[in-house]
């Protein structure tokens, strides 16, 4: 017959283990909280095609992840996709002509936004929109284009 106190301690440890597991899953596995939330700022970009890009896809500069896609919406007037990105506060020297391209990780991987630095002096501020954009390359369209070109020769 186990004493009540030992029982309570082990139950507490059990619950604690569960919480630790949850914390591990949340932070180590799902990457919640990458980057500090204070100091981050918002940038927007419009694309004609964001096929495959998801919320929480990464935003990278020169191959380094500096932010995440926070929201993907649609501008019904211009028929463009509006992507809202959350960028780390450490990277605060992006010029207004910075390019945003949607690229693919590896051959079969997921989509991400790659930022290409520009040359202007004026910098992007919180809430600004990047205008220099290139949408996702959709494989099927590419192949279709190639076939059409070949066929029209």
């Amino acid at each position: 017959m186990i004493r009540m106190r030992t029982l309570e301690i082990s139950v507490g440890a059990f619950v604690l283990a569960g919480i630790v597991g949850l914390v591990f899953l949340a932070f180590r596995v799902s990457g919640v909280g990458v980057g500090e939330t204070s100091g981050n700022y918002v940038l927007k970009a419009k694309f004609d095609d964001v096929a495959g890009l998801r919320v929480r896809s990464k935003v990278s500069l020169a191959g380094v992840t500096i932010g995440r896609v926070a929201k993907i919406g649609v501008d019904s007037e211009t028929a463009e996709a509006i992507v809202t990105m959350e960028v780390s506060g450490d990277v605060d020297n992006l010029s207004v002509d910075t390019g945003a391209r949607i690229q693919t990780e590896g051959f079969l991987g997921g989509r991400y936004i790659s930022l290409v630095p520009g040359g202007e002096d004026q910098l992007l501020a919180d809430g600004d929109t990047i205008t220099n954009t290139q949408g996702a390359l959709v494989l099927e369209n590419l192949i279709g284009d190639v076939i059409t070109k070949l066929g029209s020769k």
């Binding site: 029982l7 440890a13 059990f14 591990f24 899953l25 990458v34």
Partner: protein, 260 residues
């Protein structure tokens, strides 16, 4: 021919009757305000049901995580995508294997134990004598076990997932030499808090309620003989397992259903 129809009809009616009884047991156990001393009963049950299941959960989790990493690596290496093994294993575990395997193990270990315990109390007239003393056995014996089951199983699922993923990491990174950045980074990039972890936990909660319900009802409703208890425990394991698998299918459809 007619005889079989009659048997089928009888079986269906029995089953519906059992469902009715089970619903009453469920309702009357959970209705009513908590009383002094209920917390102690609950803690005792969390110990019996949860804490004592941790070992089997941890061992199974580690094995499954390791095996998934091994198998996944071999297959992904053929197309040079072995860095994605972390992501693949994590998704499979969080969305499916974690809740389901934990559910099956839980049903087998804790579920059958609860059924046997309640069944034995019924057979030795303990439930009856409790009633004669003016204590409601549904409140004192059944309810703590129901609540404990619903609390413990999600916690066990969390532990299972964490240990399995950690185990897969040990095998993938430590043994097979997958680049840790690729392994963990790929995982972090691809695993979503709500979509993967959250929905998986939601499944686990649903499984917990169903398994606990089946386990206590089978014990409470068992024939008060030694044979009756044995039949009841078997039923608990079988019904729970089938329920978990069937519900998993339905929940997966509902939660992730963008299938064309």
């Amino acid at each position: 021919m007619l005889r079989y129809l009659r048997l089928l009809g009888q079986w269906a009616l029995d089953w519906i009757g059992a469902l009715g009884r089970a619903s009453l047991v469920w309702f009357w156990s959970l209705a009513g305000l908590p009383r002094r001393g209920d917390m102690t009963l609950l803690i005792k049950q969390i110990y019996q049901i949860g804490v004592l299941s941790v070992i089997i959960i941890v061992l199974s989790a580690f094995s499954i995580g390791a095996v998934l990493a091994l198998q996944g690596y071999t297959q992904l290496a053929r197309v040079g995508a072995q860095e994605s093994v972390g992501l693949g294993v994590a998704l499979v575990l969080l969305r499916e294997l974690g809740p389901v395997v934990t559910g099956l193990l839980f049903a087998g270990r804790a579920g059958s134990a609860v059924t046997a315990e309640i069944g034995l109390m019924k057979t030795t007239d303990q439930l009856s004598s409790m009633e004669m003393m003016g204590v409601d056995p549904l409140h004192r014996i059944v309810a703590p076990r129901l609540w404990a089951g619903m609390i413990c199983m999600p916690l066990l699922t969390l532990i299972f997932n964490a240990v399995a993923i950690w185990g897969s990491g040990l095998v993938g990174v430590g043994w097979l030499g997958v680049d840790p950045g690729g392994f963990w980074g790929g995982m972090q990039d691809g695993v979503e808090m709500w979509d993967d972890i959250g929905k998986g936990m939601l499944k686990s909660v649903v499984f917990a309620m169903v398994i606990s319900w089946i386990a206590v009802f089978q014990g409470y409703d068992s024939t008060p003989t030694a044979e009756g208890i044995s039949v009841a425990t078997t039923k608990t394991v079988v019904y729970s397992s089938v329920a978990v698998l069937a519900l998993d299918f339905i929940l997966t459809l509902v939660m992730y259903g963008e299938f064309k």
